[in-house]
């Protein structure tokens, strides 16, 4: 029984209630005769501003309602092709970011040892001067290449302009080597083009959606979720390969609870079924592919029975699901996934997905992979800087990861630690919390120790901000106008991010910060704008887009062009050396890699340990949103999922047995301990792995809401298996054991 509210009690005993009751009950409506009125809110704005979202990187169009200068609510923009008027919870929760009481409010300069998170507020002028001086000093001592930019998010374009002009090629986003990189390489090798974002997949029209390495539904990229629901409505079926009974698995016709790390074996076995039973698209294979015979020979012995000992999936289930996938071709979509940095064989794994898709002939077909185009919008014109980098990017050593298609953020971090191929002395970090984004924070800290300058530009005081020398508070996406968004999409469009309310506190938009720094670094010419609106207007004018309409609607749609053969797209061409779909890759063979995907067997978890898997929740985008009070109300901490049978047998939990909600700590193979995290004892996961949602367990002092809630998986990722093809960091190679959370004494 709860205690009495003391204040209430005092109020009552003071005797005031009688009078209050009379006043309210008697005067207002003694007999209750007036008609009852329900509760009516008033949250519609006086002013509704269209822009697009930045809570994740999908960039849905939103309408922000503004009333008395305050954003009251955010709803979907019905005109925007990505949101179609609907939003995921994060989109609605944008106000939680804007009005987060923990936001960075003033420029800060570090006053004690790095990482101690002690800062003093300074003026913008002082902070910018300090950054510019630091950058100049490093440039003079080590060359401009000794400065690296890490960025994530749409506002990063201004700083890329700054670094390019400054003469540093070391510009990297963790979204490549820590996320989508392997997928891009796998598809580039096979089709001559990557997947990109938003993924050009026609989920809406597919008959069979195969998710292997994707938990769409928990990973709420708005349009994809909308399309999946529409596909289900139209009777499409799902095949879901996941060690965990994900939301999508719950809707699937076939759920294959695969042993983690053995996807390639399964994909090869599917190919075996499809080829040996002649269920492939013979026409597409004959016309557009090379190396089919080699592939046929390669998978001839890779039967479902062969795959069973490797994957733990019963042969009959592999065979049946494989037949089903083939039966729905070409409207049978094997989803490429998004994050694909798991076991170090990830580019090959993505290649297997690409090859399977080719066998299904779903490339360029309705219900399969589309070939969209974007609107013709020229880039912003600005004078090229005279400073050119003299050295190549530092993210990889010669001969390593030859197929990497973009800078490796982890590689830049390695180079900073080892000073090879050359020392890196300064980091600018824009909108990415490297402590959680890069594997093994100990390694990142070691790199930071080598730096002369670390500048963090961010909205919230994430962990990386605590390590910075200078902190520049950026305005949130609702307080700034950014560059135009011109994606390739089946419905080409241009979208505008525009300022909804003026920046709060002393925060400034990224374009302003970059320009200020540019001017201080003698790069004023490259920042030939007064405000970002100049850039946007210039580009719109060059593309002959009505800016007024763009500002009014937030989006301008282009002419819809066919994106698949069913709509009249001519036969596709492929930008590979053979100009065909390379089932067998000469390119790989020449580089000394397997020309066709080979199964790799992952290391077994040591006795008493579990493989650590991570994923996403619909209400959060990594650690970026976990301090958002609104989203935190939906999910304030992560849980570690443990199979029920495995939990019952956990050593150390004999009596009482582990129950859902008990706090545990995870200890990895290198003895790293997590913060306490609640257990979820569940049937929904295999017994050889545990799962948690990424992005929790913050330790930064300034994140007053998120701090200490749940556990941080990145801390436990002290080992990675690097993809030899492209340098992606496979992170699902860590093992943890479950220990009791210590009772505080």
């Amino acid at each position: 029984m709860s205690s009495i509210d003391r204040r209430q009690f005092i109020k009552i005993t003071a005797g005031s209630f009688g009078a209050a009751a009379l006043a309210s009950g008697l005067v207002s409506d003694w007999w209750g005769a007036t008609a009852s009125a329900g509760i009516t809110p008033d949250t519609d704005g006086d002013n509704v501003v269209p822009t697009f979202c930045e809570l994740c990187f999908w960039k849905c169009g939103v309408l922000a309602h503004v009333k008395n200068g305050r954003v009251t609510k955010i709803v979907g923009n019905p005109k925007h092709p990505l949101s179609r008027g609907r939003l995921c919870p994060r989109g609605t929760g944008g106000t939680g970011l804007l009005y987060d009481p923990d936001r960075l409010q003033k420029p800060l300069v570090r006053v004690s040892k790095r990482g101690e998170q002690r800062f003093e507020p300074v003026s913008w002028d002082a902070a910018l001067n300090r950054v510019a001086e630091g950058m100049e000093r490093i440039r003079k001592a080590h060359g401009p290449e000794a400065l690296a930019l890490f960025y994530h998010g749409f506002g990063g374009s201004w700083f890329k302009r700054l670094f390019k002009s400054f003469g540093s090629p070391n510009i990297a986003a963790p979204s490549y080597a820590q996320c989508r990189g392997p997928r891009e390489v796998g598809f580039e090798l096979t089709y001559g083009q990557g997947v990109g974002s938003p993924e050009p997949v026609d989920i809406e029209n597919t008959r069979c959606l195969t998710l292997i390495g994707s938990h769409l539904g928990e990973n709420t990229h708005n349009t994809q979720v909308q399309d999946m629901a529409r596909a289900i409505e139209r009777g499409a079926d799902l095949v879901v390969v996941d060690p965990r009974f994900s939301i999508a698995a719950g809707k699937a016709k076939y759920w294959l609870p695969i042993k983690p790390g053995t996807d390639i074996a399964l994909l090869l076995a599917w190919m075996n079924v499809i080829i040996s039973e002649q269920r492939y698209d013979a026409d597409f294979v004959a016309k557009h592919t090379v190396g089919f015979d080699k592939l046929k020979a390669h998978v001839a012995d890779k039967t479902p029975e062969w795959a069973y000992p490797l994957t733990g999936i019963a042969p009959q289930l592999i065979r049946e699901s494989g037949r089903f996938i083939a039966s729905q071709r070409p409207a049978s979509l094997v989803h490429p996934g998004r994050r694909a940095t798991w076991y170090g064989d990830d580019a090959q794994r993505s290649r297997a997905v690409a090859i399977l898709s080719a066998l299904l002939g779903s490339w360029g077909r309705r219900g399969g992979y589309l070939l969209p185009t974007s609107m013709e919008v020229p880039g912003d014109k600005y004078p090229k800087s005279a400073r050119k980098p003299h050295r190549p990017r530092a993210d990889r050593l010669p001969g390593k990861h030859p197929l990497a298609g973009a800078a490796l953020a982890s590689g830049l971090c390695d180079a900073t630690v080892t000073a090879k191929p050359y020392p890196i002395k300064g980091w600018m970090v824009y909108g990415t919390n490297l402590m959680q984004a890069l594997p093994d924070p100990r390694h990142t800290r070691a790199a930071i120790e080598k730096l002369d300058l670390l500048v963090a530009i961010d909205v919230l005081p994430a962990e990386i901000v605590g390590w910075a020398d200078v902190v520049l508070p950026e305005a949130t996406y609702l307080e700034r106008t950014d560059d135009l968004h011109v994606p390739a999409y089946k419905e080409p469009y241009v979208a505008l991010r525009q300022q909804v309310v003026p920046p709060m506190y002393e925060s400034k938009p990224g374009w302003w910060i970059a320009k200020q720094l540019g001017e201080r670094l003698g790069l004023g010419a490259q920042f030939n704008y007064q405000s970002s609106e100049d850039v946007v207007r210039r580009r719109a004018a060059a593309a002959k887009i009505d800016f007024a309409a763009l500002a009014r609607d937030g989006v301008v749609l282009g002419k819809r062009v066919p994106a698949c053969r069913d709509d009249g797209l001519p036969a596709p061409s492929f930008d590979t050396p053979s100009k065909k779909v390379e089932l067998y890759s000469d390119q790989l063979a020449k580089l000394g890699f397997h020309p066709m995907p080979e199964p790799s067997s992952p290391e077994e978890p040591p006795q008493g340990m579990f493989r650590l898997l991570t994923g996403r929740a619909p209400m959060h985008t990594f650690g970026r949103t976990t301090n958002n009070r609104q989203l935190g109300e939906l999910m304030s901490e992560n849980e570690v999922w443990i199979n029920r049978a495995a939990a019952r047998a956990l050593p150390g939990f004999e009596d009482p047995p582990l129950r859902t909600g008990d706090k545990v700590v995870l200890v990895n193979q290198d003895g790293i301990k997590s913060t306490p995290i609640k257990a979820r004892v569940t049937e929904r996961i295999r017994g050889d792995c545990v799962y948690m949602v990424h992005g929790f367990g913050h330790s930064a002092r300034g994140l007053r809401f998120a701090r200490g809630r749940g556990a941080c998986d990145s801390d436990l990722v002290t080992r990675v298996k690097v993809d030899p093809l492209m340098g992606g960091t496979g992170m699902n190679v860590n093992f943890v054991r479950i220990a009791k959370a210590e009772v505080r004494s």
């Binding site: 009482p656 009772v743 505080r744 004494s745």
Partner: protein, 178 residues
């Protein structure tokens, strides 16, 4: 009044100690066999104390390792075998006393001690026993009787020590009783 005297005499009539002892032994045996639990008393008092304290200062109780163990397993400190057992003791003794005509308000004391002193001694002795019972993990019921029957070495040490303590102290408090 003769009637009064008769009532008093009847009220003084207790069971033969050996009969009572065997009956007690059978209850204890039943407890050991049926519930796999010895009979106790001081553990319940401890739990009552901790519960009262945690109502006043919950944080303080949670921070004391000795007290925090009492709510292990997610149960309220009073949601415990011993507490229910002692509740039964209370009721059983009540019925026994009432049916024997011994249920009345009284202060049992020797002829040479005043009421306040007797009560102070009762309280003080209780405090000493409270501490002692915690130290020894049980009292005459839990340790000496139940542990003794299971032939636990510690229990026999404890039992001998109880008699030693009693006899050693008896001389100093003789005025209370004689």
């Amino acid at each position: 009044m003769p009637e009064q005297a008769e009532t008093t005499a009847r009220a003084e009539r207790f069971w033969n100690p050996y009969v009572a002892g065997v009956a007690l032994g059978l209850v204890l045996l039943a407890s050991l066999l049926v519930a796999a639990h010895g009979l106790g008393a001081s553990g319940a008092a401890n739990r009552v104390g901790v519960t009262a304290l945690s109502a006043l200062a919950p944080a303080h109780v949670a921070s004391n390792p000795h007290m925090a163990t009492l709510s292990a397993g997610g149960h309220h400190p009073l949601d415990n075998w011993l507490v229910f057992e002692v509740l039964g003791v209370l009721l059983g003794a009540l019925v026994a006393a009432y049916s024997a005509g011994r249920l009345k308000k009284k202060i049992v004391r020797g002829p040479n001690i005043s009421v306040p002193w007797r009560l102070a001694a009762a309280l003080g002795g209780g405090i000493v026993m409270g501490i002692a019972a915690r130290l020894a993990r049980g009292c005459t019921s839990g340790q000496a009787l139940s542990g003794g029957a299971m032939l636990s070495a510690g229990s026999w040490v404890f039992m001998l020590a109880v008699f030693a303590g009693g006899y050693a102290m008896a001389y100093f408090v003789r005025r209370q009783w004689r």
